[in-house]
């Protein structure tokens, strides 16, 4: 829910267990308590709808009647690999990573190889900033110690009794007419790629085949579509093209099926959230911006619109949610 600074301070002082997202200036004013936080100014809540604000905070409250145990821990780019082992077997962990930080980059590249990652429930998001502003730095905060972290992750591990399930919503799907695209090695800046097994100069291929780089490539994870977007604002006269997330070898990618209207596609897809018993959700800032969510309500979606979402691994242009089952 969106709260004022005063309302948020009151909840912290009452000893509530909280996840908080908001502008840097507001987060810095919060007292110590049982909370973790990260910078973000885009929010979607089912009472206010989409809202961009540096005056309100998004506050998710976790009832201590439902949380048996919890711990708040900080991880740097070396220790983050141990994070899943610290997560409770029953329950879930919320990871907040400052976008572009060493720990963010390490997590984006290697999270699926961390021991125990798929044996625990790991969700979270990338802390960001207002894209219309001049400050392009993100931070996260350990509310228990007051530590302000620009290079490390903050994690709330919660032990809970109920059975839960992690899922995603993705408005994109692979185009059945797309060639299969593969890469020899992990990359965030593509020069060459394999198109149906044949090595090509990728940017030249995109230009010659008039591929719409506003749409992501879709990785096939045994039936789950995982987006890899091209960074916005690039032209196809360069030798390489930059990605908003790494593309990996041994994963088959396809170009996305075109959508008529991003806004309409997101509105339709988000209906899948209705009637679910959701206890955590996070959206992507790109869905917020391209889906024109400002002022629009999305039933059962409550959270920041972040710079990357985490469902085990770092994702883009998706909604991640945890539901009771």
């Amino acid at each position: 829910m969106l709260k004022t600074l005063e309302q948020t301070i009151e909840l912290i002082n009452e000893g509530k267990l909280l996840q908080i997202a908001g502008a840097k200036e507001l987060l810095r004013k919060l007292p110590k308590g049982n909370w973790i936080g990260g910078t973000q100014e885009y929010f979607v809540t089912d009472d206010f709808g989409g809202e961009t604000s540096n005056e309100k905070l998004f506050v998710a409250q976790f009832s201590l009647d439902e949380v048996k145990n919890y711990k708040i821990k900080e991880y740097d780019e070396k220790s983050i690999k141990n994070m899943p082992k610290d997560s409770y077997s029953n329950g879930f962990s919320i990871v907040i990573l400052p976008v572009g930080s060493p720990v963010f980059l390490e997590y984006a590249r290697n999270a699926v190889d961390y021991e125990d990652i798929f044996f625990k429930n790991i969700v979270g998001w990338g802390a960001g900033y207002n894209l219309a502003g001049t400050d392009t730095t993100a931070l996260v905060i350990n509310g228990q110690t007051g530590n302000i972290l620009e290079k490390e992750a903050i994690v709330l591990h919660m032990e809970r009794d109920e059975n839960i399930n992690i899922s995603i919503l993705n408005i994109f799907e692979p185009d059945e007419n797309s060639p299969v695209i593969t890469f020899k090695e992990e990359t965030t800046n593509i020069k060459n790629a394999f198109i149906n097994g044949e090595e090509v100069e990728f940017v030249k291929y995109l230009k010659e085949n008039e591929i719409n780089i506003m749409l992501p490539m879709i990785g096939d994870y045994s039936g789950q579509s995982i987006n890899v977007p091209f960074n916005p604002g690039q032209n196809l006269d360069a030798e390489t093209i930059a990605l908003g997330a790494p593309a990996f070898p041994l994963i088959e990618y396809r170009f996305a099926k075109p959508i008529k209207s991003y806004e309409e596609a997101f509105a339709n897809k988000s209906k899948e959230l209705h009637r679910k018993d959701i206890i955590f959700s996070v959206n992507c800032a790109l869905n917020y911006l391209y889906g024109s969510l400002e002022g629009k309500k999305v039933e059962n979606l409550n959270g920041p619109a972040a710079f990357g979402e985490i469902a085990y691994k770092l994702l883009t242009q998706t909604v991640v949610f945890v539901e009771r089952i």
Binding site: F118, I166, I325
Partner: protein
Amino acid sequence: MTAINELQLKKILDQDVKFSQSFTLSMFIQKAKVDYKVNKDLKKALTDVNAFLAANHQKIHNADKELLKRL
């Protein structure tokens, strides 16, 4: 407890089997496939997949039963 044998695992690793009904299961299976392509260690893959199925029956929301039916 859901468990699979080597033959069933080979089907998963070698064929284009989709598990879209469970995000967690499909992400884990994809990791197992990638690990197997790199390591070629079928016994380790079998141990990993069965440990996952044993530990995550509730979490994958009975998708493991669906998986077995399709192998």
